[in-house]
Symmetry: C2
Subunit: 453 residues, 2 copies
């Protein structure tokens, strides 16, 4: 159980630096998000630091933001996850490789095959971040007039995961005989076709690739809605979310684990690793200044565009240094609108200040020294708020280097993070069990091996 | 024009060794088709030999063959092309990387994005082998009850290529400003959304990745039917086919080029590189013996399964050493059935001999010494039968090594093949022009640059 007392750390790398101002930060590489050289350097440094995984998100459209924000965003061009992670698998040996793939706009046969292939190529280091793709612009790129509704997306996602894991189980782990004497390459009795016919998907099988080294690549999810939590409780092995506070994380973590218990899943088979923006410096003042510098690099036009989008109402014509006007009720994005309206009311922020908050990174952040951040992370771990974090870097390369050079050694000194990889696969790093094959369970394998002696 | 007097050589690597008996050949690696180590070694050797490209085909189902053949096939597990080629891009610098992707069972947004990403990661070395996927088993893996019919597949393919190339042109080559001072990352006037609404596809765009270094990855096709030839004449830059003889190749080559002329395409923008199985040895006898050994390694059960499948009629119950019985007309695979019936009639082959022919590799082959094969290849080039070949290896690693160590130096000695790469991209190796951006033609680019000074 020692594993549970240690943090797991993923690196969230799309965008390579999450903050909207990152590419303009002094010393930052403005090309970092789309530079193979920076990606290669980053993953090698993360592997030196013994991170669990390198996490490459994906989008199936230009991000749905106003032109004024889009033209100032370094995320507008990015590598595709499977191609990038496969290339990076060739220059690393241990670090996990997690790719986002959509259950709404892709086919389970493709997804099963690509992850299986990445898992084989990397020696068991692949993970699948299962997303249902909320961006309505994505639907327009895949032949639909409008986005499938939320609950339908989650229904399809559940069936999709079932089909993909079934396809991964097409071959028994010992199906390949490769007997040059007899000429038998594979035992056909050790191949299974799922012949799936469900409400959303029809897939015959079998998959045309051997079972992945990990059995199944690690299943990752981020769903926060009730449907998302339920799907995660049923299928996720890693949850990547965005809780605003430690209390929210603790309550989310408890909720998902109670949902797991309710369906008979061992709570120990889940790692909860929320996203955390980390700005570390030698003094608290310096860290706060860095964050302030980053925020100041978000252009007003970009911020106001994001603010309008969050409010569902155009405030561009109002005095930037005046208060927020009365915002009428609109259909879209209620929680985002309320967050902004409350900020304006409670802290008395001007439109300019609100635009800055809306346009920069507004998720959970650790800003401080190695000691102060290690204290906070330790509290998260010890009070069961999370099992670790998916770290987001403020800029590349310097912001990543400081996490590795300052924070990680402090976590290691406290015994909160590994100094060496103990295993070879992503499952082993995370302390997760290897799933048995549903069509060729272990007993059967033993029986077959015995009978063929 | 010196380029035209030289051969272009691709390596067809799925299966890594094409012959059904390859994995059983003395000294062969029976795991080669699914061994990253062998794939890495192979591509490095091919790059040393200055091959134009490494070609990774794909299948979207277990090959549709009888169980007796499938259980003896080393192709039953293979890597997925995008993941494999991306991994190999990281360990090579010059050789082209061609992947098969289906226009029937994938979405243009995915295909455009993955090839663009592979092209960026490899520095302009990607090529797309456009296939419509004839295997009816594939349809069952993608939610369909039966395969889309041939002409509908080709109609969709034409539209699909149009959409994908349009998506590649989403960003002007100079769209990315990355001005840290002003905060402008990309010029929104240099982004185009195709807003395509056609009979088979609806795609909004823009693509969320910068234009590929090659403008467009090289378009490769293999269609042999009239619809396939027409699509190739309209869109292909490399044709990979399987002509049975030099005469058939010459006539195919002339036909496609006349179709190109008819629609106003310059015939010089096409490279015809048919598949060729190459067995090279120090003497003709040795080469013939190797071929015979390979053929002898095809198990009778595998061969008879393939023969039954080609005949559309089960001859398993007949005497293997007797003649082929009368074969009734059936619906499926007329040309394959006739080929087997004619072989039986004209050469008086027994069922066992026919099964061997059906079950081994039955396409065009060069079998001989470096000198005899170089003579033949030179004839193909000089009589305009082809611009080179996609070489298929008899076994891995030895069969590949012999092509590289024996045949390639002889071709180089004759000035028929390069000794060094002259360019960096696949287009440059093939002597193909870089396509201009249809939405941002060169004149316009000059104008914009001038006006923004």
């Amino acid at each position: 159980m020692a594993k549970h007392r240690q943090l797991h750390l993923g690196a969230f790398m799309r965008p390579a630096a999450i903050h909207t101002g990152a590419w303009r930060y002094p010393g930052a590489d403005p090309h970092a998000n789309f530079s193979l050289e920076q990606m290669r350097r980053s993953i090698r440094r993360l592997e030196e630091a013994k991170f669990d995984a390198f996490f490459m998100a994906d989008h199936l459209a230009l991000l749905n933001m106003p032109i004024a924000a889009l033209m100032r965003s370094h995320t507008v061009t990015s590598f595709e996850p499977f191609t990038l992670l496969s290339a990076l698998s060739a220059v690393t040996e241990r670090i996990g490789l997690i790719a986002t793939a959509s259950t709404t706009f892709d086919a389970p046969y493709h997804i099963a095959k690509r992850f299986a292939s990445l898992d084989h190529l990397s020696g068991g280091r692949a993970g699948w971040n299962v997303v249902t793709t909320a961006n309505p612009d994505a639907a327009l790129n895949f032949g639909y007039e409008s986005q499938m509704d939320h609950d339908d997306r989650y229904e399809r996602a559940r069936e999709f995961v079932e089909v993909v894991t079934g396809l991964w189980d097409s071959f028994a782990d010992d199906a390949f005989v490769r007997d040059t004497e007899s000429g038998v390459f594979v035992d056909p009795a050790r191949i299974h076709a799922i012949s799936h016919k469900g409400p959303s998907l029809k897939v015959q099988g079998p998959l045309n690739i051997a079972r992945p080294p990990q059995g199944w690549p690690v299943i990752v999810q981020a769903g926060a809605s009730p449907a998302g939590r339920q799907l995660a409780a049923e299928t996720a092995e890693v949850i990547f979310g965005a809780p605003p506070t430690i209390e929210a994380a603790r309550s989310f973590n408890a909720d998902v684990r109670s949902r797991m218990a309710a369906i008979g899943r061992a709570p120990d088979t889940l790692r909860y690793l929320p996203g955390a923006f980390v700005v570390v410096a030698d003094s608290m003042n310096e860290a706060l200044e860095r964050r302030a510098t980053l925020d100041s690099l978000v252009h007003y036009d970009s911020g106001i565009g994001s603010l309008n989008s969050m409010l569902g109402f155009d405030v561009s014509d109002h005095d930037p240094d005046g208060p927020l006007p009365e915002i009428p009720e609109t259909e879209a994005g209620r929680s985002q609108r309320e967050r902004m309206v409350n900020l304006a009311r409670e802290k008395g922020l001007t439109i300019r200040e609100l635009a800055r908050a809306a346009g920069s990174y507004s998720g959970f952040a650790f800003v401080g020294t190695a000691t102060s951040i290690a204290d906070e992370m330790q509290e998260w771990l010890e009070t069961e708020a999370s099992d670790g974090f998916n770290v987001m870097f403020p800029w590349i390369p310097g912001g990543l280097d400081e996490v590795i050079d300052k924070l990680v050694p402090e976590l290691q000194r406290r015994g909160l993070f590994r100094r060496e990889y103990e295993g070879r696969t992503l499952r082993e790093h995370l302390g997760l069990p290897r799933p048995s094959n549903r069509f060729f369970p272990p007993e059967h394998e033993v029986l077959t091996r015995t009978s063929s002696v």
